[in-house]
């Protein structure tokens, strides 16, 4: 079973994962038995009853009520079992324990923000304590599209919408790092919208909390602030640092390079240009790219953060 689980499913890391896996295996085994039975019947019949001459005759058998009832009732029983089982586990998956640790999740194209009750914010990475139910209160950013939060190892998945909150919960059983994905198609950065859930022991979690709370963003050098914003504001969903082209152009070597725009003009990517393209991205659109960079950063980022981004980009020579 262990081997099977590891072959078909990622390791089970949340409290309810094992139940889900049990049903998965049950259906698989029943299905396999059915499939093998059907296959044997096909092969056996086609050999045993193969046509021996063109004059072959066959008996007239029109139907058989007993058989008919049998193969109606047996599947009926099976599906009732499967339904009841799935329902039972689903109830558990939808009922967060009362003492849950609550995290607000915001998704946007293309990234994730997490906000802890104590005010700590994380982007594209969620840190939680082990053996503690965590309830996610999730919503997509206003005006954004649907996304879905999927942690395979927790057997957890839930869509996020821009117009209302949805919920999910899990309780991790081991410390470790687990990938999460976006599984609701959301456009160019869909396959880039993944991140890590970091499960820490209570101690590690506490010291992490302290460290985070103690950090003073205003004292950070501009470029370092820029690096933080690059992940937290979601730029990395569309702009790479390694020269690869994603939804938007890479930031690597961008500074002081000549840019070509769809209106035919060109410009050198100096500081002024960088600021403009962050604040008013729709004005100059690079050739070969869609005009879909969010036009929100003028509101969502502070002036210092924008300057930080520019310094950060400048450093990527």
């Amino acid at each position: 079973m262990e081997y099977l689980t590891n072959f078909f499913l990622p390791s089970a890391e949340s409290t309810y994962a094992a139940n889900v896996d049990a049903l998965f295996h049950f259906i698989n085994i029943v299905s396999l038995i059915l499939l093998v039975g059907i296959t044997i019947a096909i092969v056996y019949f086609s050999i045993k009853y193969r046509r021996k001459s063109q004059e072959d005759t066959t008996p007239l058998i029109t139907h058989n009520t007993t058989l008919e009832v049998t193969w109606t009732v047996i599947p009926l029983i099976l599906i009732l079992i499967v339904f009841g089982w799935g329902f039972n586990d689903y109830v558990e998956m939808r009922t967060p324990p009362a003492n849950s640790y609550e995290v607000y999740v915001e998704s946007f194209s293309f990234g994730w923000n997490f906000e802890h009750p104590n005010g700590i914010r994380e982007a594209n990475q969620l840190t939680v304590p082990v053996a503690q139910p965590v309830r996610l209160i999730m919503r997509s950013r206003d005006g954004d599209v649907l996304h879905s939060f999927f942690v395979p190892q927790f057997r957890l998945k839930q869509d996020l919408m821009p117009n209302r909150y949805t919920y999910a919960w899990f309780e991790a059983i081991r410390p470790g790092e687990f990938v999460y994905f976006c599984t609701e198609y959301c456009g160019g950065g869909h396959s880039m919208m993944n991140g890590i859930v970091r499960v820490k022991t209570q101690e590690d979690f506490d010291s992490w909390t302290e460290e985070e709370l103690g950090r003073d963003l205003d004292a950070l050098p501009l470029a370092e602030l820029g690096r933080l914003v690059y992940t937290s504001a979601g730029c990395q969903g569309c702009h790479s640092l390694d020269g690869a082209s994603r939804v938007g152009p890479t930031f690597a070597g961008l500074y002081m390079r000549e840019r070509q725009f769809t209106d035919g003009s060109t410009r050198i990517a100096d500081e002024a240009y960088l600021i403009e393209s962050i604040v008013e991205p729709q004005v100059l659109v690079n050739v070969g790219y869609p005009n879909n960079m969010p036009n929100i950063y003028a509101q969502t980022l502070s002036e210092r953060e924008i300057l930080g981004l520019v310094e950060f980009i400048k450093e990527l020579q």
Partner: protein
């Protein structure tokens, strides 16, 4: 002359010899491009559909190979994310709306339905031609969207993404909207034909099972397609006027869109598979040369599937944020589709039992169908179990599931049917040797492509990803190689079928020894299907009776000159 005695009324019928080589058949009765484009002959219309869907299958298939090639490694090989998104959307939309929905009903169905019923044509031949043209116009719109700015929303067009994206959503959805009407008109036409155009003596209990399947399909087409039409119309309005029913930015609700979409698109999967069931019934009956076991069970289960299948659409939305109550109800209802489907499978097996099985190419496809579709079906049950669905939703497990049912189910049945009726439609025999070889290649290639997808899906590989984390690479590579093998299989089919047209042996009227009326006329059939008005006195699978019992008829002129023709139809239907 023989007289089929009836209580009190006698209907004069006689045995007709099947015309083996009539000088004129539907293919050469008229010639010229116009005689095709403006034909009202259901057989020619069927062939035109066949050509169109073959074309679109090829296009969709090549797009699939491009997708698979991109996925060979996690890095960007051929294209960027944007292009990939467009390609899988087009692949899905072309395969679903342009290929699989019209495939069996519009191509094989059009060709066969009237002949099998003993009618000269469908009830509304001009409407039939119109639906072909509507389909073509719709297809043009979809193709136009290709030229303008290929759509990148996924074939499901979920809002709000479909409202926000810059791609040509309106052109594409308008094309699909138009094609919907083609589907509706075909469905209406078939229902009326089955009700009103049956030959004398063709009682409901004597209908070939293919007809029952087409009937159930038509009911779904007529029921569900209008909802797709209104959904797409609202989506178009959402984009042009911003009416705010589906778009949350304007006060709408995206989950409502999903209800609307799946209310059509779940029943639509039964539009795809139920005709396939019909084909399989014919194949297994004919190549086992045995009365189909459980005729009524198979016939009624098609209707049961159509009915239950209309109640389960929400199983695509278990994690969408719909209420838990509806999730549970939908899950419960979903499983019930498995029961009538199982009934069919077991009845087919029982038909093979004690039969005289001839493993010709069509029968080989039927067996492949049974195997692959069972896998596809039981994985559907897996997806219907709510707690498991949470893990599997929108992963490659779903992708594998629906390729097993659509490609492994419908396309295999379609190929089986195509080979089965190829002699009837073209008058030529294909190479049996190459037929079997390519069936085996396709079987292997198919499993190699899609089995790994089950595994990576349950491990968590999300769908609609153009790149992925390295862990999944082996599975993706197996899958890509498999898809190339599939491609080779299809090339072989294309070659030998084309070859048969030039060099193929001439087909006899009934090469497989079948009993349904389509085999009681020449291959290819006459322009008006029969030289006589067929009269039916036997079930469609009465293999214990001599074949001459199936060629009864009334001479056409006698029949039409008769003053009381309406009455005869009635009497014979009840008492012959």
């Amino acid at each position: 002359m023989s007289a089929a005695a009836t209580n009190g009324n006698t209907l004069k019928v006689r045995y007709f010899d099947i015309d083996e080589n009539p000088p004129k058949n539907y293919l050469n009765a008229e010639s010229g491009l116009k005689s095709w484009l403006f034909t009202v002959d259901h057989k020619r219309i069927g062939l035109m559909y066949l050509a169109s869907i073959a074309l679109f299958f090829f296009v969709g298939g090549v797009l699939a190979l491009v997708l698979r090639t991109e996925l060979f490694t996690p890095a960007e090989n051929l294209m960027n994310a944007e292009t990939y998104n467009r390609i899988f959307t087009l692949h899905g939309a072309i395969m679903v709306f342009l290929f699989i929905i019209p495939s069996i009903p519009a191509a094989l169905g059009n060709f066969l339905l009237p002949i099998m019923l003993g009618a000269k044509d469908v009830a509304f031949p001009r409407l039939n031609l119109a639906s072909f043209w509507i389909y073509s116009i719709g297809a043009l719109f979809t193709l136009a969207s290709l030229a303008v700015n290929p759509i990148d929303t996924g074939w499901t067009f979920y809002t709000p993404y479909s409202v926000q994206t810059g791609s040509a959503v309106i052109l594409m959805t308008f094309g699909v909207f138009i094609m919907g009407f083609s589907s509706i008109l075909t469905g209406m036409n078939f229902i009326v034909t089955v009700h009103k155009m049956r030959a004398p003596g063709m009682t409901w209990g004597r209908l070939p099972l293919f007809i029952w399947a087409m009937y159930a399909t038509s009911v779904i087409q007529v029921l569900a397609t209008p909802v797709l039409a209104i959904t797409l119309a609202l989506l178009i309005m959402e984009r042009t006027l911003g009416i705010g029913i589906f778009d949350p930015a304007l006060g709408g609700d995206p989950v409502l869109y999903q209800h609307f979409f799946w209310f059509y698109s779940h029943p639509a999967v039964y539009i795809m598979i139920v005709p396939a069931f019909g084909v399989i019934s014919e194949l297994i009956g004919t190549f086992s040369r045995k009365t189909v076991f459980g005729y009524w069970a198979i016939a009624m289960s098609s209707l049961a599937i159509a009915f239950i299948g209309s109640l389960v659409w929400g199983h695509h939305m278990f994690v969408s944020g719909q209420s838990e109550l509806s999730t549970v109800v939908f899950s419960f209802l979903t499983f019930f589709v498995g029961i009538p489907t199982g009934i069919k499978i077991f009845n087919w097996l029982a038909t093979m039992h004690k039969g005289s099985i001839d493993m010709k190419t069509p029968m080989l496809y039927a067996c492949i169908f049974l195997f692959l579709f069972t896998i596809g079906g039981v994985t559907g049950i897996m997806l219907g179990a709510i707690s498991v669905n949470v893990q599997l939703h929108d992963t490659y497990y779903v992708v594998a599931h629906f390729h097993y049912v659509m490609m492994g189910g419908t396309v295999m049945a379609f190929l089986g049917g195509l080979h089965f009726w190829w002699p009837k439609m073209t008058g030529k025999m294909y190479s049996e040797f190459w037929g079997r070889i390519s069936a085996v290649i396709i079987f292997i290639g198919f499993n190699l492509t899609f089995l790994p997808q089950f595994i990576m899906g349950s491990q968590g590989m999300p769908r609609r990803y153009y790149s992925y984390i390295e862990q999944f690479q082996t599975m993706h590579q197996l899958s890509t190689i498999g898809s190339y093998v599939l491609g080779i299989g299809f090339v072989i089919i294309a070659v030998y079928l084309a070859h048969s047209l030039w060099k193929g042996e001439k087909a006899t009227s009934n090469p497989w020894g079948a009993r349904t009326l389509d085999w009681m006329t020449s291959s290819p059939p006459l322009q008006h299907n029969f030289n006589y008005q067929p009269v039916v006195t036997n079930g469609a699978y009465d293999y214990h009776k001599p074949i001459s019992d199936f060629t009864l008829g009334i001479s056409d002129d006698v029949y039409h000159g008769n003053d009381h023709e309406g009455d005869i139809r009635k009497q014979s239907a009840e008492t012959v």
